[in-house]
């Protein structure tokens, strides 16, 4: 039996639901030697501002139980150099490209989106309104319902490309942010970005990251991320891209079952750059074992019916 792994994220069609998470796969081209980029559902490239950014000084990462903190500070080449230097090789490799963008102001988001709208070979724009380790922009917008609405509307006004706001988990009621994004015209949402966190070297009493705080990712966050995708799926009628700590096919399936149409893999790619085939194989085997023809049929299939519990006293 052959199974159908293709999924739709609004008007964007993906051959399979596996997407490389932003900031965890460079600009994609770095991995061309290890992975056939056209076999991924899509690649969310590293977060881009309008201009080049230096990023934070080292130390930029530190490991914590079942995960890692990062405060890279969105080092990047800026959107114009991305379009000129990275997009052509990505097009050549037939990669589906999702461009993750970040701004210090609403106007900056719109300006970047305008530039991308004029470029060839872009599948969608992911709005990073959720980066926890930069001073201006990023999570500031993603932590306010008004900010979320404003960024999404401003980008909606300047592009026809599918737009995917990426939500932060660092809020009380993530579903209300999904609703705000939906009302402002988003085509899909993605979540979660990393959890604001901190680690301290007790010998020196210094923070382990130069930026003091950073974002937690990896298996440690997965159960919270699954819960948040579940809440969003119940709140909005948009395709959801779920992520947070996916290491195995079962991890990915959890997200799909609670309502994710596709998933992103970040930290796990650092551990195993050849993870993609293993996940695809695992998904295929699962669908076959459950006699399902298409992964899309599994989306949001969480069984919440109350089961009668019966027993016999023998």
């Amino acid at each position: 039996m052959s199974v159908d792994l293709s999924v739709n994220i609004g008007s964007l069609k993906l051959a399979n639901p596996l997407i490389a998470a932003s900031g965890c796969f460079g600009y994609g081209v770095e991995y061309a030697e290890a992975v056939d980029l056209s076999t991924l559902g899509a690649i969310a490239v590293k977060g881009l501002f309008l201009e080049e950014r230096a990023g934070h000084p080292p130390a930029r990462i530190v490991e914590t139980p079942g995960g890692m903190l990062n405060a890279i500070g969105l080092q990047g080449i800026g959107v114009r150099r991305f379009v000129a230097e990275k997009l052509p090789p990505l097009r050549e490799q037939a990669a589906v490209v999702i461009v993750n963008i970040c701004g210090s102001t609403i106007e900056e988001y719109a300006e970047i989106a305008r530039i991308l709208d004029d470029s060839d070979g872009i599948g969608a724009i992911e709005l990073n309104i959720s980066c926890p380790n930069i001073k201006k922009g990023g999570m500031l917008f993603g932590c306010s319902l008004k900010g979320t609405h404003e960024v999404v509307s401003a980008v909606r006004n300047v592009t026809r490309l599918p737009i995917i706001p990426k939500l932060t988990p660092n809020v009380n009621d993530v579903a209300s942010f999904a609703v705000a994004a939906s009302e402002a015209g988003a085509d899909a949402i993605s979540l979660v970005n990393t959890f604001l966190a901190m680690a301290v070297d007790v010998e020196t009493r210094r923070p382990k990251l130069s930026n003091v705080v950073g974002g937690l990712s990896g298996p440690a966050i997965r159960p919270i991320a699954v819960r948040m995708v579940h809440e969003c799926y119940q709140a909005v009628n948009l395709p959801i891209i779920g992520m947070g700590g996916i290491m195995t096919p079962d991890d990915a399936l959890e997200f799909v079952i609670v309502g994710a149409s596709a998933v992103q893999i970040g930290t796990a790619n650092f551990v195993d750059p050849f993870i993609w085939n293993k996940l695809l194989q695992g998904l295929t085997e699962y669908l076959e074992r459950h006699q399902l023809e298409a992964v899309s049929g599994l989306v949001g299939s969480l069984d919440l019916t109350v089961r009668e519990t019966t027993w016999t006293n023998s």
Binding site: Y31, G55, P57, I72, Q75, N269, F270
Partner: protein
Amino acid sequence: MLTDVDAVVLSNSILSPAYNVLSLAAPQIASRALPGQFVMVKPDCGNDPLLRRPFSIFEVLRDDNHQISGISLLNKQVGVTTSTLFGLTAGDNVRCLGPLGRPFSMAKRSEKAWMVAGGVGLAPFYTLAVALQSQQIDSTLFYGGQSSRDLFYVEAFRQLRVNLELTTDDGSLGHHGQVTGPLERSLHELKPTTSLRIYACGPTPMMRAVTKLASAHGHDVEVSLEQIMGCGLGGCYSCVVPIRHEGGSVNFVRSCLDGPIFNGRDVVWDGLEQ
């Protein structure tokens, strides 16, 4: 080509209470490895710690038939992964991804090659010494450790006809003091007509001092930097080093792709963690 090998441990030789050499069956990596390159390693430890660790390729191993059979790692116990690697025995498995990174540039026949190593910084120099010997290049190893118990493979380097300048902090072997002592003396004694290539690997302050000393005598140094790395493939931007470019601009450069070998003169040492 990049390969990820689930490498079997061939042997683990304990050198001291802190150091060991772990031999791994990984012919696919070994046959392509160049001096100065590294591998990303993860023992079977589940999610804690989660990430791989970068290790210089210490030796390229050959079997009884002289076929390339694997690589070895020079390991020093400092954290969880290195302690796990210290305790492995033959038959265990270690995931091993590589070879990665830019190698050392090879010295020319007309040049002398000097390798400056501090502690576990010896790791990239054995394969380099083998390559230098095969080119019949006159080479010297300046090698410093805390005491005689911390200097390893000295005989092996001697057999490769490498001249040795050993130093220990406690004076128990070789010169008493730091490796920069004999290096400075040798730089003074060098005939001005001799062309020289210097390589350094060790603690950051040592590489910085070597770079300063060598530039004072008009020489470049190829340093092998050891940064915290997330992926080894350019994906995460965590292993960055501040590098000064021609024209004076400074930016953060990924050590996994553009290093781990850099020209010491280009490194903005104040911006590196010490």
